[in-house]
C-alpha cells in the first residue's frame, strides 16, 4: 500500500499543490489568511486567559502558539482527510489511483500551513528573544515532529477510510476533536493537571508533542520521555489500526461514494 504511494508521488504532489493553490486563488489577501486564524486566536485567548483568568504563564502568547499551531495541524489535516473521499468523489469514481494518496495529500497540504503558521511563532520569538532557549536539546525537535506526523497520518488514514463507509465518522470526529481541544494542554501546562486526570489524558499523543515543543523551545530542556513514549505507543497502535482499516475499505471507495 505504501509502495504504491512512492510510485505515484507525482499524483500526490499534484493533489497537494491543487489543494494548496485552490485555497488562495481569487483571494485579495492570499496567504495572509493562513495567519489570520491563529492571529485572532492568540489575541482572544491572551485576553481571556491573561487578563481575565490571570494564569500568569510567562510569555503566554508564545506558550499558547506552541500548543495551538501543532494542534491546528492535527485537527485541520484530520478534518480534511475525513472529507477527502467525498471532496474527490469524481476522481475516485473515474480514475484508478492508489486511494492512500488522499489522506496523505490532506496531511501534506496542512503541513505546509503548519510551516506558514510557524512564522508567527518565529515573529514572537524575535520580539521576545528572552523567551527562546538555545540548547543542544533543539536536536530533539525532529523527533517530536516525526512523532506528531506519525500520529496525524495514522488518524487521517482511519477517518478517511471510515468516512467513506460511514458518513457519521465526520460528526463523531467533530465531537472527539472538541474533547481533545480542551484535553490537550493548549491553554495550560500539563504539569498543573491533577495526577489522576493526567494518567488518563497522557494517552493523547498531542500532549507529549505540545509539551515536548514547549520544553525544548521555552525551557531549553529535553522533552518528557515518558509522555513521548506513551505518545509513540498510541501512535503506533493507531498506525496499525489505520493500515488495517484502510486496506479493508480501499477497494470499496468507488462503491460508496
Amino acid at each position: 500500500m505504501f509502495a504504491e504511494l512512492i510510485k505515484k508521488r507525482e499524483v500526490l504532489d499534484v493533489l497537494v499543490q491543487k489543494d494548496f493553490k485552490a485555497r488562495y486563488k481569487d483571494k485579495a489577501l492570499g496567504r495572509f489568511w493562513s495567519l489570520a486564524d491563529p492571529l485572532v486566536m492568540v489575541i482572544v485567548f491572551t485576553i481571556v486567559f491573561e487578563y481575565i483568568f490571570k494564569t500568569g504563564q510567562p510569555y503566554f502568547p508564545i506558550f499558547l502558539l506552541l500548543g495551538l499551531t501543532p494542534y491546528r495541524f492535527f485537527t485541520n489535516s484530520v478534518n480534511a482527510a475525513a472529507g477527502s473521499g467525498l471532496d474527490n468523489a469524481q476522481l475516485v469514481k473515474k480514475v484508478a489511483f492508489p486511494r492512500i494518496i488522499l489522506p496523505f495529500a490532506s496531511v501534506l497540504s496542512h503541513m505546509r500551513h503548519f510551516f506558514i503558521e510557524l512564522l508567527l511563532v518565529l515573529g514572537l520569538f524575535l520580539y521576545f528573544p528572552a523567551a527562546f532557549h538555545l540548547s543542544i536539546n533543539l536536536l530533539w525537535l525532529p523527533l517530536v515532529f516525526a512523532l506528531q506526523c506519525l500520529f496525524i497520518q495514522s488518524v487521517a488514514m482511519i477517518v478517511a477510510a471510515l468516512n467513506v463507509r460511514y458518513r457519521d465518522t465526520q460528526y463523531m470526529l467533530n465531537s472527539v476533536l472538541l474533547i481533545l481541544y480542551w484535553m490537550t494542554p493548549l491553554f495550560y501546562s500539563f504539569s498543573i493537571v491533577p495526577r489522576k486526570l493526567a494518567l488518563f489524558l497522557q494517552w493523547n499523543p498531542m500532549v507529549g508533542v505540545v509539551e515536548g515543543y514547549r520544553a525544548i523551545l521555552l525551557k531549553g530542556a529535553p522533552p518528557s520521555f515518558q509522555l513521548l513514549g506513551v505518545a509513540a505507543i498510541t501512535s503506533t497502535l493507531l498506525l496499525f489500526i489505520g493500515t488495517y482499516v484502510f486496506k479493508k475499505y480501499e477497494k470499496l471507495f468507488a462503491d460508496y461514494l
Binding site: K25, Q90, F97
Partner: protein, 350 residues
Amino acid sequence: MTDANSIADATRPTESIDSKSKMDCPAVIRANGVGKRYEMHRHRSMLLHDAAKMAFSKYEKNYFWALRNIDFEIRKGESVALIGPNGAGKSTLLSLIAKTVFPTEGSLTVEGRVSALLELGAGFHPHFTGRENILINGIVMGLTKAEIEARMDEIIAFSELEKFIDEPIQNYSSGMLARLGFSVAASVDPEILIVDEALSVGDAAFQEKSFQRILDFKRQGCTILFVTHALGNVSRFCDRALLLSHGQILEAGPAQDICDNYEARVREGRLDAPRLPYETQVLPLWKRVAAILTILSMMGVVIGAGIYFVLSSMKETAGMPEPNAIQRIKRLNENNNNKNNDSDALERAP
C-alpha cells in the same frame, strides 16, 4: 450450462474476418466468472443504527448483483462494443476494467495502460486555468509532468482553445470543457482505450475529429472498448460486440450481427436474461455481539470518565460558600494593597 458454453464459443474472435488476424495476439483482458455485488442502500446508513439493529432484530444485509458470471477474453488490438439496455451493467463492467471498482468474485486481469474516455475532466478544478488543469488531469491519468509539458502544445491545439487556455475554466462553456477533457485523455498513449457515451458531447465537427483520433488509436494497435447506445457507431469502430442485459452476457459475436439481433430483440421485447436475484445475508451472532460491545465500551469509557470528574469536582466545592460581591471586592483590594506594597518595596530597594 450449455448457454455459457455457447457464449464462450461466440466470444472467440473467429467470426469476423477482421479479427481473424488477431487470433494469435495475446489476450489483454481476461474475465473469469466475474461478479460485482453492491450493498443495497437501505442498510448502509448509520453506525449506531446498525448496532441497534444488530442487537434488537434479526440483522440482515441486502445485496444486488450488478454483474455475475461474466466470462470473456479480449485480445490485443481488438475493438469491442458493449451494448445493452440501461442498467445492464455496461458501466460497471467498464469501471471494473478501469480498476476503479473491484470484482466481488471471479478474476479479471487487465494488461497494459488503460485510458478511459469516461473520465473526461476528472480532477478538473474550476478556479485553475485550462493549462493548469491539463497538467493536473494528465498526471492523475498516469502521465508524468515532463510528458505532459512535451505534449502541451499538441493538446491545446487539438482542443482549439488557444485563446482561452490561460483563463480559469469556471468561465468555460460545457462544450469547451468537454473539448479540454477529451484532448487530455486522448494524449495519454493508451494500450487499452475505454470510450463511454460521454464522448457524444461537443459539436459535430469536434465529434468527427474525436472519432478520427479514436480510429488512429485503433490503427496503432490499441485495444478499444466502446459503450454506446448509438448503434450506428458500433459498426464503424468495432469488430465484435457483447450484448449485456441484467448483468449477464446475452450474446457475443461480430459487431454487425449483434447489433441487428439487439434491434430485433428490442422490437420483439425479448431482452430478458434471467434476472439476478437479490441476496440476503444474516450476520452471525458473535459478530453482532462484538460490534455492540465495542461501541458500548468505547462510549462507556468516555462518558463514565466525564461523569466521574464532573461529580468529584462538585463534591469538592460542595461545602464552599459562593463568593459574593463584597468578598470579591475585599479580595481585590487585598491584592492591590499587596501589589502596591511590593512596588513600593521595589522602589525603595536601590
